[in-house]
């Protein structure tokens, strides 16, 4: 550290200090609610998920099929051209095994997470989802998987209309 900067400042608080009367604090929680417009591309995507289909958009210039779909191609900077259905099958690009929930609490039964490169989309075009009905020891990059859908009447036009991806029985 610089000779001139020896006096490092900052007053440490423990978790208990924060709760103590001697530490003056104010508590609060914002009122911050939103209804995000899904827009043209995502609305179609979600509606098709409800129908049990995965839809993307093709850019005819770079020939990629973008999933999730967007109305523009970020590489070519032009409007994408057409809707394309891709299969509910793909290969694991990468995966992880989570012992944490969304608030960083520990959980016993891990959540299996993967990026799945979808068959029929452009190369390297994957989506984030969960894995299920799978032996943890057997998960590997390149593993063929398929979407397991919620029953039709339980679908809500959400990415959770796919319950998870499960391994395709290899012959």
């Amino acid at each position: 550290m610089s000779e001139k900067v020896k006096d490092l400042r900052g007053t440490r608080l423990s978790a208990a200090d924060l709760e103590s009367e001697d530490t003056i604090t104010v508590r609060g929680r914002p009122n911050a609610k939103y209804a995000w417009s899904a827009g043209i591309a995502y609305t179609k995507y979600l509606e098709e998920l409800k129908n049990g289909r995965i839809v993307g958009r093709r850019c005819r210039q770079c020939e990629r099929v973008l999933v999730p779909p967007r109305m523009y191609c970020e590489q070519c900077f032009r409007a994408t051209d057409e809707w394309v259905y891709v299969k509910g099958t793909g290969k694991i690009n990468t995966y992880s095994i989570s012992y944490l929930d969304a608030d960083a609490n520990r959980i016993k039964t891990p959540i299996l997470v993967a990026v799945i490169d979808l068959d029929g989309a452009g190369p390297g075009i994957g989506i984030l989802h969960k894995l299920g009905n799978v032996d943890i020891e057997k998960i590997h990059v390149g593993m063929p998987v398929q979407a397991v859908w919620k029953p039709t009447n339980e679908r809500k036009a959400s990415v959770t209309d796919i319950l998870y991806f499960e391994p395709i029985e290899e012959e």
Binding site: G28, K33, W36, G39, I40, E74
Partner: protein
């Protein structure tokens, strides 16, 4: 300083845009701006800046979602946590370093996605000293407005006249969201939010996106027959402690204007400035800002406004676009809406609302409650 605006693009401004996402709106405005400038973003634009605040968007790190629809993927892109004019000024500085020749600026509002706008503004108040009471966060504006009226002798009627003027100006702006014929009484009789501030003293929120392309002198001359030159820029933040503020004058705007005028060589703004687009988040703010910009003496703006001095056909037109009150409050993007109006006017592209023989204009912004932060830019059709 030798940076010009060589292209502008924008969506229309609307109270709500339910069937299109902010990304799709940004793409539309970007395509228009790049077309206007004659540039391909994948090749010709060296850097991209966006003006955004996370809580306005509902995302913790909004910067993530910016590059794709601007043609900015794998290029220098950043967010400026400020209004659109501050993003533009940072773009100007980037060009002035000599590192870049063409830069794009984006600012937007998707206010209709926000369900709890007063809750968001409250979340901007100091948590220790200013959130203790269950009141609308515009109490800050109520306090400021009363003190401003008290010190300057400005009347509530004069503030209401600003609303009437700006909504009427918006009638000639096809992009505006809140054009209307209204009377001073309509404003005076609307309900108080925080007395003396009524609902109609407050600009209504709107959605919209504005994209601009900036270029260095050399590049601007190649790209555009009618570049609009940035002659001076200034920006300033006064203390964030409401308890320590000067209430009657907008010190941040005065100091920002001082810097911008000095850079632009403006000694007598009342003579040298042909028209102005100033922040009018609240009606009285327009008057306070006119004074801070030196467009009249302190305390005179209300009276002069009432007399028509700042009307479209007046001596020094202010907010010909309709401002936030008439065109719509586009949050951080209203600052760019002000610049947009200056550009269109200086290029003679303002249609029905074109002001005559305008060569030099000023755009000024304020970030809203609880800030004392704002920017000023002097623009000219002449280099």
């Amino acid at each position: 300083m030798t940076v010009a605006i060589v292209g502008v693009g924008h969506t229309s401004f609307q109270s709500t845009t339910p069937d299109i996402s902010f990304k799709e709106q940004m793409f539309e405005a970007a395509v228009k701006a790049y077309e206007d400038a004659g540039v391909n973003p994948r090749k010709d634009i060296a850097s991209f800046l966006t003006a955004a605040e996370d809580y306005y968007e509902g995302y913790s790190i909004f910067d993530e979602f910016v590059p794709d629809q601007l043609g900015a993927v794998l290029r220098p892109v950043c967010t400026i946590g400020g209004d659109g004019l501050l993003a533009l000024i940072n773009g100007v500085m980037q060009i002035e370093t000599g590192l870049f020749d063409v830069v794009a600026i984006e600012a937007h509002s998707k206010a209709s996605d926000i369900l709890t706008f007063p809750g968001i503004v409250t979340h901007g108040l100091d948590p220790i000293y200013n959130r203790a009471f269950n009141v609308h966060p515009y109490f800050v504006a109520g306090l400021e407005m009363r003190r401003y009226l008290h010190e300057t002798g400005t009347t509530r009627e004069q503030c209401a006249a600003v609303v009437v003027k700006n909504k009427e100006n918006a009638l000639s702006n096809p992009s505006a969201a809140f054009a209307a014929k209204m009377t001073v009484d309509d404003v005076m009789n609307s309900a108080f939010v925080s007395d003396p501030l009524t609902h109609r003293d407050i600009s209504p929120l709107a959605d919209g996106v504005i994209v601009m392309v900036l270029a260095s002198e050399e590049k601007a001359k190649k790209l555009s027959d009618h570049p609009v030159w940035l002659k001076g820029v200034g920006w300033c933040s006064d203390t964030p402690w409401i308890e320590s503020r000067t209430w009657s004058t907008a010190e941040y705007a005065r100091l920002a204007a001082e810097r911008a005028y000095k850079m632009a060589g403006i000694k007598n703004p009342q003579k040298q400035i042909a028209f102005a687009e100033v922040d009018d988040w609240f009606s009285y703010k327009e008057l306070q800002h006119i004074e801070a910009l030196g467009l009249c003496e302190n305390g005179e703006a209300g009276k002069l406004s009432e007399q028509g001095n700042f009307s479209r056909n007046g001596k020094l037109p202010v907010n010909v676009s309709g401002g936030r009150i008439g065109a719509g409050n586009l949050l951080e993007a209203s600052a760019l809406q002000s610049v947009l109006e200056c550009v269109l006017q200086l290029q003679g592209r303002a249609g029905k609302r074109q002001v005559k023989s305008a060569e030099m204009a000023v755009a000024q912004s304020w970030r809203g409650v609880p800030t004392a932060t704002g920017c000023v830019a002097v623009l000219s059709s002449e280099l």
